[in-house]
Symmetry: C2
Subunit: 131 residues, 2 copies
């Protein structure tokens, strides 16, 4: 299921986060599907359960999954996280970054083009979800 590189400069939990994000975004993992428990996955990958836990918590705070004590961790319905804390954080970052980009000569049109480009990429992956 996962191919981790334990001696990569990129931390294990981060590899896990990225991998799981990717699977969620690409619908490899369906909404409300149960992820492997922290202990089971830890044993499979022969790493410490707390490392899985860290990855899962990260995914939870970013809105990708939700966890229920005693039950397990499950894929979240991403569209539902409208005004999440995560979105607020992203917005704040965006403000700074856009201001900086403009300061260094990036024009409104260039920004617009960038947004359109990204929107197109998103649609390709999204299929018939919205609009």
């Amino acid at each position: 299921m996962f191919d981790l590189d334990v001696r990569s400069r990129k931390p294990i939990y981060e590899q896990l986060v990225d991998k799981l994000k990717e699977m969620i975004i690409n619908d490899v993992l369906q909404v409300d599907e149960k992820l492997p428990s922290v202990r089971v996955l830890a044993q499979q990958l022969t790493i410490n359960p707390n490392t899985i836990q860290k990855a899962y918590r990260e995914l939870e705070t970013q809105g990708y999954i939700y966890s229920v004590k005693g039950k397990g961790s499950f894929v979240n319905q991403l569209v539902k996280t409208e005004n999440s804390e995560e979105l607020q954080k992203v917005k704040a970052q965006l403000e700074k970054l856009i201001a900086e980009a403009m300061f260094f000569g990036m024009t409104k049109d260039e920004l617009q083009a960038l947004i359109n480009e990204i929107e197109d990429q998103g649609k390709r992956g999204d299929r018939d979800d919205r609009q």
Copy 2:
């Protein structure tokens, strides 16, 4: 000239970078104006010259100043940094961040609004400076 807090959680060199950026953006320091040498400023602030050096290098890679060995460090002409490495970096960050924002439900219109807002702030600052 500077009021630093040596026991702040924010590193000294970062305080310097922020302060100098601010002065450059607000035209307190004019284009091509010479900054204090690393040693002079270090003595004034009673900190290590290498700390100043780190701040200056950071400002240089970000395009705010330029340094010439044996001569000194000078305020850069910011508009001229059209396709700088820094802008490329900012663009790359923007791409990721915009994609993430959209992923979490931020719409094109909201992004547009954000850009306009920031653009307006920029213009207001320009006018104020001219007096």
